[in-house]
Subunit: 112 residues, 2 copies
Amino acid sequence: MTQSRPVYLKLRDQIAAAIIEGLYPEGAMLPSVRALAAEQGANPLTVAKAYQQFQNDGLVEVQRGVGMYVVKGAAELLRRRERDLFLREEWPEIRARMERLGLKPADLVEQS
Amino acid sequence: MTQSRPVYLKLRDQIAAAIIEGLYPEGAMLPSVRALAAEQGANPLTVAKAYQQFQNDGLVEVQRGVGMYVVKGAAELLRRRERDLFLREEWPEIRARMERLGLKPADLVEQS
DNA sequence: ATGGCTGTATTATGGCACTGAAGCACCTGG
DNA sequence: CCAGGTGCTTCAGTGCCATAATACAGCCAT
């Protein structure tokens, strides 16, 4: 009934947002899989799955037995990548939907 | 890897969009479960599941043995409902995300 | 009445995503 | 060395989604 996005995707977005916002600066160590799992009430594996994608994209460096570190330039890279994805994949659909609903982007600019 | 939203949800959105846009005017008969299933390459049951929600919301009238018809005022009702949902649930998140990515709504208003 | 179209219910099955628990492999500090 | 922290692998369980095959129930034109 409720949308219920997968947990690992929520975490992924959340982590990405944190990196972009500089909450995890370049060179900083990310929270350990277990620590973040405990904090979020999730399974360590689920957190690992969320981290996985950042490794694949080369945005974090893994030091086995030590931790995962934010690569230099990760924030800017991530921002650029997300921005492109947003403009290319999501915005057109959102735009079409708003039009269908009779909402103009200009009307929403002034919202709180 | 790919998002792969459930088929029945895709159908639901697609039908809702069609109703709002007047492709299925008030009083018109919706495509039969089997017909839409064949057209979309889906299972009749899956289509039925998509239709189900519209029945529950009283947006379509079922005439068993005949077909399903769009109720009067369904389009406006649907538009209003979707609009509220959009403004309350989705827009704030989209807005936050755009801000995080360094995108201003005003910049996108002029897009094609 | 009958055939053909509607929606609906039932049951079973396969697939896949998500989550969980336990254990392995690795590094660091004492 | 070893105890504690890392990430990572494996096995298994659960639930949702989609499909399939049948059968049932209602309406209508022929």
